[in-house]
């Protein structure tokens, strides 16, 4: 059977967000702009970056993204994420290593409601004539810069974004739980181009061993999306096909 992750989640749990409950209401947000940059990563980390609930993809990939939400119950905010591509049983997912937001209120809300390990930083998403650039600056140091070069329009129907799996502390007992965050997307515009990664500070993203080795693609979309109610959570320590709990 396929490999399973070997990541010991215990050290991560110390810093992982504590969920308030599993009943958070959904946030539906219009006019979202989202940049996603995909790289194949060195296979040395294909299992060590994932908890035992998840299978790595073959080849292993990482998704670097910056999203601008123009509105939300906590106001406008930008969110940057680094995720490792994976499978929860038979389903494509991205395991969140860490996130940053330019809004402390968003960091807190996303952590308490959906289990995002999200910290404050300066997050930018900028468009130039020949590229779209997402960046994160932490304490004056650029810890991520990912770009889409030479954007070309494509149909939004060609886009397939994987849902999140976020490690958090359970509201029941504080133990590790993986939260599936699976927003829907309505695309209004989509572009594709070459990916470029010019800054990636692994410690800042809790991404030891994640070495981007091969560019895959980059996309930029304008869409309506958000953060839905949590539907499924998984036990981080056992395969998702047996350790999944349906909430609704």
């Amino acid at each position: 059977m396929p490999f399973l992750g070997t990541l010991d989640t215990t050290p991560r749990l110390k810093d992982a967000p504590q969920l308030d409950n599993y009943d958070t209401e959904a946030w539906e947000i219009a006019g979202v702009e989202h940049l996603s940059v995909t790289f194949e990563i060195d296979d040395a980390a294909m299992t060590s970056a994932l908890p035992p609930a998840l299978h790595p993809t073959i080849p292993p990939v990482a998704y670097f993204s910056v999203t601008s939400y123009p509105e939300s119950p906590v106001g406008a905010f930008k969110l940057a994420q680094v995720r490792v591509g994976c499978r929860a049983a038979a389903l494509p997912r991205g395991f969140l290593l860490r996130a940053y937001s330019d809004s402390p209120a968003a960091c807190e809300a996303l952590g308490r409601r959906w289990g995002y390990d999200c910290r404050p930083a300066d997050v930018q998403l900028r468009r130039y004539h020949d590229r779209i650039v997402g960046s994160v600056t932490l304490d004056g140091r650029e810890v991520l810069q990912g770009s889409l070069l030479d954007p070309n329009p494509i149909s939004g129907s060609s886009i397939f974004y994987v849902s999140n799996v976020n490690l958090a502390r359970s509201p029941d007992d504080g133990k590790g739980v993986l939260v599936q965050v699976d927003p829907a997307y309505t695309f209004h515009r989509a572009e594709r181009g070459s990916p470029e990664l010019t800054a990636f500070d692994r410690p800042a993203w809790a991404a030891d061993g994640i070495d981007p080795v091969w560019p895959v693609t980059a996309t930029f979309v304008k869409c309506d999306t958000g953060f839905p109610q949590i539907r499924y959570v998984m036990d981080a320590s056992q395969a998702a096909r047996i350790g999944t709990r349906k909430l609704r």
Partner: protein, 370 residues
């Protein structure tokens, strides 16, 4: 209705030095038995880099071994990847012609373009281009096989006049097929006069509509080859056992294992958004219906698992929707022990196959005592 067998050659870990050889030897033993039992075809996929799921990167060599170890069964390249970075079209023409000669004219040539980023990215091929290069190559192959000299100046490749040798043993050339997974590919097949090589498990209702459209369009096709191959070849799982429950349980284990492994693949569309891959290929039909990782892999309808009576009914349903042939996947990750695979083949040949033989063929078999 004709019956065949179909190989992905999946090799479970741990990969000790004998692991791959054992799986290949078992497959060849199954092929020899299938030939004796009257199965019509054996097909082998071409996949690259798909760990555990498929170690069948050189199917022409496996099929050559099948050909020399058997007498009647036809050998199907199912499919040869028509992407120049993976197979140069000249090499496709040369290898297939040689295989046709070695097999004494028993070759069927399936064509396709790969559906995973794992494979396309590994060879540096752009998913944007595969539909176009497939189209060019399927139009060139019959000419390469039949013209004394061939030259070409296209987007996928260029070549000055050369004699591409050897020529196939079958005249004018072997039957050609197209792998059908994504909706719409059946139209591509029909418009070019190519056979339908189904790689979709189950979904009888949807398949019936697609098959009807294929039949309608192929009547007015512009064939790329020297003849029209108007055949529909579907794929299925096979586990046949006297006890229905045992057959169902083992068959579901086989199907579930295959589906779980297939779902791990990084599809072209998932990694690289492109209109060239409007669907996720084989994967959606095998993934769970819902979004829960805890759901089981979907069990398609029309599976050929269970006791002979149940399988006869399933085959009749496929026959009724328009399939001419069914190819069976016999194992995945070696979850079915070899002796059980062989017993399943024997029971199918004894109890199911005779129900679908043509009257003349059945009569001939009876009079010769076969």
């Amino acid at each position: 209705m004709k019956f065949g067998i179909f190989y992905e050659i999946s090799v479970p870990r741990p990969w000790d030095p004998e692991a791959e050889r054992t799986v290949y030897e078992r497959a060849l033993e199954q092929v020899r038995l299938a030939d004796e039992l009257g199965f019509d075809q054996v097909w082998a996929v071409e996949h690259h880099f798909l760990e555990e799921y498929s170690h069948c990167s050189s199917p022409e060599i496996f099929l050559a071994a099948c050909a020399v170890q058997t007498k009647k069964i036809r050998v199907g390249h199912g499919i040869v990847v028509c992407v120049p970075q993976i197979n140069h079209p000249i090499r496709i023409a040369e290898r297939t012609a040689t295989l046709d000669i070695i097999s004494g004219g028993r070759l069927e040539v399936g064509t396709g373009r790969s559906a995973t980023w794992t494979e396309l990215g590994g060879f540096g091929a752009s998913p944007d281009d595969t539909k176009k290069t497939w189209d060019e190559i399927v139009r060139c192959l019959p000419k390469m096989w039949t013209q004394e000299r061939f030259s070409y100046d296209g987007a996928a490749f260029k070549m000055p006049p050369r004699a591409i040798l050897p020529k196939p043993y079958q005249k004018p050339h072997p039957p050609m097929w197209v792998a059908i997974t994504s909706p719409g590919t059946e139209i591509d097949a029909a418009d070019r006069g190519l056979g339908w090589l189904g790689l979709t498990f189950g979904g009888l209702e949807e398949q019936e509509q697609r098959m009807a459209e294929y039949r309608r369009r192929i009547k007015v096709c512009e064939p790329v080859g020297d003849f029209v191959n108007e055949q529909i070849n579907s794929v299925n799982f096979l586990y046949c056992h006297e006890d229905d429950e045992t057959g169902l349980n083992t068959g579901r284990r086989l199907q579930g294992t295959f589906g779980y492994m297939a779902a791990q693949l990084l599809s072209a569309r998932e990694a690289y958004p492109t209109p060239s891959y409007p669907a996720l290929g084989l994967l959606p039909q095998l993934r769970p219906d819902g979004d829960s990782p805890g759901d089981s892999v979907r069990v398609p309808d029309g599976l050929c698992i269970g006791n002979p009576a149940r399988i006869i009914e399933a085959v009749k349903r496929w026959e009724s929707v328009g399939a001419d042939r069914i190819n069976f996947l016999l194992n995945a990750m070696e979850v079915v022990p070899q002796e059980q695979v062989l017993a399943s083949l024997r029971l199918f040949a004894k109890e199911v196959m005779p129900k679908f033989q043509e009257p003349t063929r059945r009569q001939a078999a009876l009079t010769t005592g076969a």
